[in-house]
Each structure stands twice: as structure tokens, then as C-alpha cells.
Symmetry: C2
Subunit: 128 residues, 2 copies
Amino acid sequence: MLIRRPEQVEPQPMTMPGAMGVAMRLMIGRTDGAPTFAMRLFEVAVNGHTPLHQHNYEHEVIVLEGEGLVTGGVGGHTIRPIKPGDVVYMPANEIHQFRNTGQQPLRFYCLIPTTFDCGKACQPTPGS
Amino acid sequence: MLIRRPEQVEPQPMTMPGAMGVAMRLMIGRTDGAPTFAMRLFEVAVNGHTPLHQHNYEHEVIVLEGEGLVTGGVGGHTIRPIKPGDVVYMPANEIHQFRNTGQQPLRFYCLIPTTFDCGKACQPTPGS
């Protein structure tokens, strides 16, 4: 088994177009041997946001700290507040975005199928 | 999208042999349409524990509250403390157990491949 803490993982700035003030820590992923899904910890700075985008895989999110708005829905027309303790299921193909509207960093775990933990569709790991 | 809070989900006692004082909330699962992995929130009472067992799929865990010991390893011989903020990757086939050794409930998220979110190998959802 592997036990890891966020402070042991270097945050990577999210460079995807449309992202602002977002850093990601890959807590569990393909390089750890995880075969099915990957766990990433996001921190969105005050006034920051993830890109407004869509893709053909789902997100499962756990909000830890801060407050914000999440956009979702097939057309991206649904906007709802999020706060610590909330869990968000974002199905594949919904247009979505996470925005920090509070006065402190917005921190949340976001899990995705392992195939996509490099930020795009990756080639399967040999043997997986 | 779906936004849900733990208090909106009825906890289910874990009745698996070897479990003591464990309740589970299925936060996101097959019935929500999640195709790949399921999110469960566990609460282990003081002196309680999950079963010492093994299976052919992995766990990814986020510790929220409390303190405890986690057993892992191929032979189940590795025992390490866990505390809030820790992330645990338990590969398939390791003998594992989570024990509450603190003075308050031990709460953690545990995610698994969706196929197993009913507590055993389920039949695939039609269309998934």
C-alpha cells in the first residue's frame, strides 16, 4: 500500500487554456499502478477558475475548503454553489467549470478514469 | 450534474463478517450512472474496524477525521497509522483493514471500481 499526504506532492499549475489560478496535485495515478481511476487534488486561487469545457469522461468531486460555483449540464446552463462537504458528480459530456467565488483557496478532490490522468487521453500503461 | 451532501444519504451498517461499528454512505454509484468508479463515505466507530480481507480490486482512500491504523501488504503484515489528510492507495489483492484507534469516529472516503459498489461483484448495468 501507499500512504501519501498533499504536502508530499508538488503542485502542477494547470496550463490548459481557460484555466486561471489552478494547481493540481496528482495524489494517486497511473504511475502508482492505479488501474481504474486517478485521484487529483485541486487548489483554485481566489478569483480563479478551471476551464469551461467538456469531455467524454466523468468527474467525481469532494469539496474540502472554500466556496465557489460549479457550472454543469448538457448545455452548461446550470450553475450551483458548492461548499465544504459537498460531493459533485459531473457526468461525461456536460459543459463544466469550477470557480472560486470566496475569500480563500477553493480546494477539492477530483477523480477521473485513469486513462485521462495525464490531462488528456493517454495510451494505456503496458500490462494494464 | 448532481450535488449531494453526506447528511442526505442514509448510512448503511456494514454487515460483512469481520466488520464492527462500520457504516457506509454510497455517495456516488451505479444508480447515479457513474460508469467507472464509486464513491463511498465510511464512518468507523471508536474501537471499530473494517473486515481484514482481500479482493481483486483496488481502494483509493481519503482520510477526513479521526485516527487509526491501516493494515496492508500482500501478506497483510504492514501496519501504518492514518490521520486526516492522508491518502491511501490499496492495490488489489493486498490483505487490508482499517481500524479506529482514536477517541472519535474515523471518517474516510473509499473509492472503488463501480462494478463492486454493491459490496460484491455486480453484474454490469445494462448499457454501461
